[in-house]
């Protein structure tokens, strides 16, 4: 492989590139999907190729190809340089600069006890069909579905600065979902969470630990029970979020606005920018003193964990919010350089055919010292919300509105009636400033989110979020006309 990577780097240098890197990626995936007692799809896919990124005259160019041959590597490197030359015709006064990184030769591999590709398809099918049957024991369930997927990515990164990094990552995930509908009402319930379930950089042991069958019957029953549940009232009240809904809250209102490319307007025309402008770094009160958030790419098993990012920067743990104060961004080598910092190691591409862009790693809310029981007992009147269903946030990541699968009233410190169609809305920093209780590390859990979209052409990142249940005071819930 070194022969091929050297060809790309040599060609780029010879043509005058001041920097170049190449990634060669071989990715295989397997997935099973069941629906109402049938296997809806069972398949595998394989994608191999390489991409060359160059800096010429202070401007970027990138090209890629699926044909991994010496001639093609040469052609693609040449094309990347000619694209960079075109970029240089519409340039700022200031050239792109790269924050320094120590060149390394390294290998990294994610933890995997049981290779998910060694588990027989029959066993995966049997597990999902049994969960399917259990969900549909309740005749009110119209559609039961389940899925299991596994991924392995082999990646080589080489740069003109002398790095040569080989990484192998294995990911596994699964989830089940029941949909009930009747008389103009439609409700869903999922486990362990919505949008395909939970994912991790682990092996088959991760799916075994989910115990899908222990939850399937409950999931079906809850979907049906939601049809006739009380409508979530339109009030301002105290809100308790479970850790799966907090995952989405952290993702949208913290993870995205701390991406330094968004801050600099690089995503403005598509995903948007950020309210966390550079003058806020180190001083802005993002949340209450109970809010501590880190970006941690080093956690074993995290879906957003890795050894090195796609610029060869080692995985790091970075403080994002410290006792409520906004401290640091997620950055790349070129964006970090603009702030006179080093990269926080957050550049990732979703395939060989895409350039790396700033992506979340594992963005985690640190545990506090409550238990969920104590939080509920301490709440006079409020609502407990679980599992995300819909999400929307403005292009600077301030005004958000999230809907959940299920909610419960909290009255005088105890759980009351089930509520349907619950949602809540707020302004990011006002919401986090109203946080006055976070549950402890026993209730803290790391979730994997496999569907974070960003960039043009679109890329889908696999990221992680850790959190424990937390309480927010005085939140507007029940938005919209529901009658």
């Amino acid at each position: 492989m070194r022969d091929l990577t050297s060809v790309a780097l040599d060609v780029a240098k010879k043509l005058g590139a001041s920097y170049a890197d190449i990634r060669v990626v071989d990715k295989k995936q397997e997935s099973v999907r069941t629906r109402n007692g049938n296997v809806e799809s069972l398949g595998s896919s394989r994608s191999k190729g390489f991409g060359v990124r160059v800096l010429y005259d202070g401007a970027w160019g990138f090209s890629s190809s699926a044909r991994i041959t010496e001639d093609e590597v040469r052609r693609v490197a040449e094309e990347a340089v000619s694209i960079a030359k075109a970029s240089a015709t519409v340039k700022r006064e200031k050239d792109v600069e790269l924050a320094p990184v120590k060149p390394v030769t390294a290998k990294w591999k994610s933890e995997c006890k049981i290779d998910p590709f060694s588990v027989k398809a029959e066993d995966k099918i049997a597990l999902l069909l049994e969960a399917d049957r259990l969900m549909r024991q309740n005749k009110g369930v119209r559609v039961a579905s389940g899925n299991i997927s596994s991924l392995r990515e082999d990646k080589v990164f080489a740069s003109t600065e002398g790095s040569y990094i080989e990484q192998v990552k294995t990911e596994t995930g699964a989830g089940i979902d029941a949909m009930a509908a009747d008389k103009g009402e439609l409700q869903r319930r999922s486990y362990p969470t919505s949008a395909g379930g939970d994912f991790a950089s682990r092996g088959w042991e991760f799916v075994e630990d989910m115990r899908l069958l222990d939850h399937a019957e409950r999931v079906g029953n809850e979907a049906v029970a939601l049809l006739t549940a009380k409508q979530c009232p339109q009030v301002v009240t105290d809100l308790v979020l479970d850790s799966s809904q907090l995952t989405l809250q952290i993702h949208e209102s913290c993870g995205h606005p701390i991406e330094l490319d968004r801050v600099f307007g690089q995503e403005a025309s598509y995903a948007g920018t950020s309210f966390l402008t550079p003058e806020k770094q180190g001083t802005f009160q993002y949340g209450s003193p109970d809010v501590n958030i880190v970006a941690d790419a080093t956690i074993e098993g995290g879906l957003g964990s890795f050894g090195f990012d796609d610029e060869g920067v080692p995985a790091q743990r970075t403080t994002i919010v410290d006792k409520g104060i906004f401290k640091n961004y997620l950055s790349s080598r070129d964006t970090a350089a603009e702030l006179g910092e080093t990269s926080s190691g957050a550049m990732r591409a979703d395939s060989w055919s895409r350039i790396p862009i700033i992506r979340m790693t594992n963005i985690n809310l640190e545990p506090g010292d409550w238990t969920l029981d104590e939080i509920i007992k301490d709440t006079k009147e409020g609502i407990l919300m679980e599992t995300n269903k819909s999400w929307s946030i403005d292009d600077k990541r301030l005004n958000f509105q999230f809907g959940v699968e299920m909610a419960y009233e909290i009255k005088d410190g105890s759980i009351g009636d089930m509520l349907k169609n619950a949602n809540y809305t707020g302004i990011t920093y006002e919401f986090w400033r109203s946080c006055d209780a976070v549950a402890n590390k026993d209730e803290w859990r790391l979730w994997g989110v496999p569907n974070c979209g960003k960039g043009e052409p679109g890329q889908v990142a696999h990221v992680g979020h850790g959190s424990a249940p937390a309480r927010f005071r005085g939140v507007k819930v029940g938005v919209g006309k529901w009658q």
Binding site: R35, N36, N38, V39, E40, S41, L42, G43, S44, S45, R46, K48, G49, G51, A59, W60, G61, F62, S63, S64, S65, A66, E79, I83, A86, S87, V90, K91, I125, R142, M179, A181, G184, E185, L186, G265, Q266, A268, S269, Y270, S353, R354, I355, S390, S392, I393, D394, D395, N399, Q401, G403, N421, T425, I427, E456, P457, V479, G480, K481, W482
Partner: protein
């Protein structure tokens, strides 16, 4: 042509896969092409990429047992591996009692969707288009961000019953947000032939919107008359279609149309349809099952008329597929939506508005409730207050939480000009009451 197989080669390859497959039935999908994109922000090009590639997916079927595998390498060995993987998987499978077979061949209409001008558009050509925008923005002290993309793609579907469908097409899209610290404006242009894109016009529109948007004022959330420009209309229309007009969603009772087909649900002014052959959109003569596309009138003068069928949902009801199938079994999907124009101009809508909001586009919309088609989202890049028939000032962006059923049920003015927005071709509309549920800080 580099990056494209062409019709003969693609069909030959698909035929070889079918011949080599041991299945009772076999389906092959080959797609790919080239895609190039220049991205800019802060008035300079910060990303500039090109990629090319294909994927081949084979579905091997024994009785009702189905296995699929895909590869992005079209080498003989990789394709052989994919056939073997799909075969192995199919043998392990349980019979899918829901399986309804695969379509046979039908004549496929010819449409011209490929333009050499778009295929040959170079990185320097794109840079020139970008420059037209950044220079105009910079002259006003604004910053432009956006992207100029061009691509050529091909799609080949073949199966063992004789379906042999091939199409190649080009796409070009220029979009920009022009902004300052105190306002922003959006404009874009989409075309199959890049020669139809006028970067100067895109630049002028976005810069003018940005100028008009400076220093927005807070107007409280609540119910307002709205004028929705075409991009916002297309966004809402997609929610109406998504679950609503799929025959399988209706059959499973998860569509608002379940039991209501033939009813007048919307205003007389509302008619829309899906037409894969109309060159005003992005034509595509067949679906991912290789079935030719039929024009389906979904709503005619307010009456819910037609549903979209794929092979499976059609078989279940003893009907014909309308050519709206996917490959993965996700159910029928719309791909080329058209809304009937009305007889108003946006200026007339403004003139007829007592106190309302003019919306350029929405951002990050999401379904809050599929049966009520309740959608939430934000306004973005040009939101204005209209008072007594005049645009009076820019306003801070709103969050809306509103039902698309109500919007298309009550709209009372429809634009006579149609605009291409994404894969839809739609007019602007005026709605007498639209619910904004929140305001943001910019």
């Amino acid at each position: 042509m580099r990056g494209l197989l062409g019709k003969d080669e693609a069909l030959k390859m698909a035929g070889r896969v079918i011949d080599a497959s041991p299945g009772d039935m076999t389906e092959v999908l080959i797609r790919g092409g080239v895609s190039r994109l220049t991205r800019f922000s802060d008035n300079y090009i910060h990303q500039n990429v090109s990629d090319s590639g294909h994927s081949l997916t084979v579905k091997v079927i024994f009785g009702k047992k189905i296995g699929t595998a895909s590869t992005n390498s079209l080498d003989e060995d990789a394709v052989k591996d994919a056939i073997e993987a799909a075969t192995r998987v199919a043998e392990l499978q349980k019979p899918n009692e829901d399986f309804e077979g695969i379509p046979g061949p039908e004549p496929i209409p010819e449409v011209n969707t490929f333009f050499d001008s778009t295929y040959e558009f170079s990185p320097l050509d794109r840079a020139m288009g970008v420059k037209a925008i950044t220079e105009r923005a910079a002259a006003k002290g604004f910053k432009a961000a956006g992207a100029y993309s061009t691509g050529a793609s091909e799609l080949c579907i073949a199966n063992s019953l004789g379906v042999r469908a091939y199409n190649r097409s080009t796409q070009a899209h220029l979009r920009t947000v022009v902004m300052s610290d105190t306002g922003s404006g959006y404009a874009d242009a989409l075309a199959t032939d890049v020669k139809d894109i006028d970067p100067g016009l895109v630049a002028r529109t976005a810069v003018e919107k940005c100028e008009a948007s400076q220093n927005p004022q807070v107007v409280p959330a609540g119910e307002y008359e709205v004028i929705l420009e075409p991009r916002a209309v297309a966004d809402l229309l997609s929610y109406l279609v998504r679950g609503g007009f799929s025959a399988s969603a209706v059959r499973e009772g998860r569509s608002f149309l379940a039991g209501r087909l033939g009813e007048k649900i919307f205003t007389d002014l509302f008619s829309f349809w899906d037409d894969g052959l109309d060159p005003r959109g992005f034509p595509m003569p067949f679906d991912l099952e290789g079935v030719p596309k039929e024009k389906v009138i979904m709503v005619d003068k307010g009456v819910a008329k037609g549903l979209l069928y794929d092979w499976k949902s059609a078989k279940k009801e003893g009907k014909r597929s309308t050519g709206h199938g996917g490959f993965g079994g996700w159910g029928p999907m719309a791909a080329n939506l058209f809304m009937a124009p009305g007889d108003s101009t946006v200026e007339e809508m403004i003139k007829n508005t007592k106190r309302g909001i003019l919306v350029t586009r929405f951002h990050y919309t999401n379904m809050a409730h599929p049966m009520k088609v309740l959608v939430t989202g934000m306004t973005r890049d040009g939101t204005f207050l209209v008072e007594d028939g005049k645009v009076t000032k820019p306003v801070k962006n709103f969050r809306f939480t509103e039902s698309a059923l109500k919007v298309f049920g009550t709209m009372d003015m429809v634009g006579k000009e149609l605009h291409r927005s994404g894969r839809s071709v739609v007019p602007a509309i005026h709605v007498p009451a639209f619910t904004f549920t929140g305001v943001t800080e910019f």
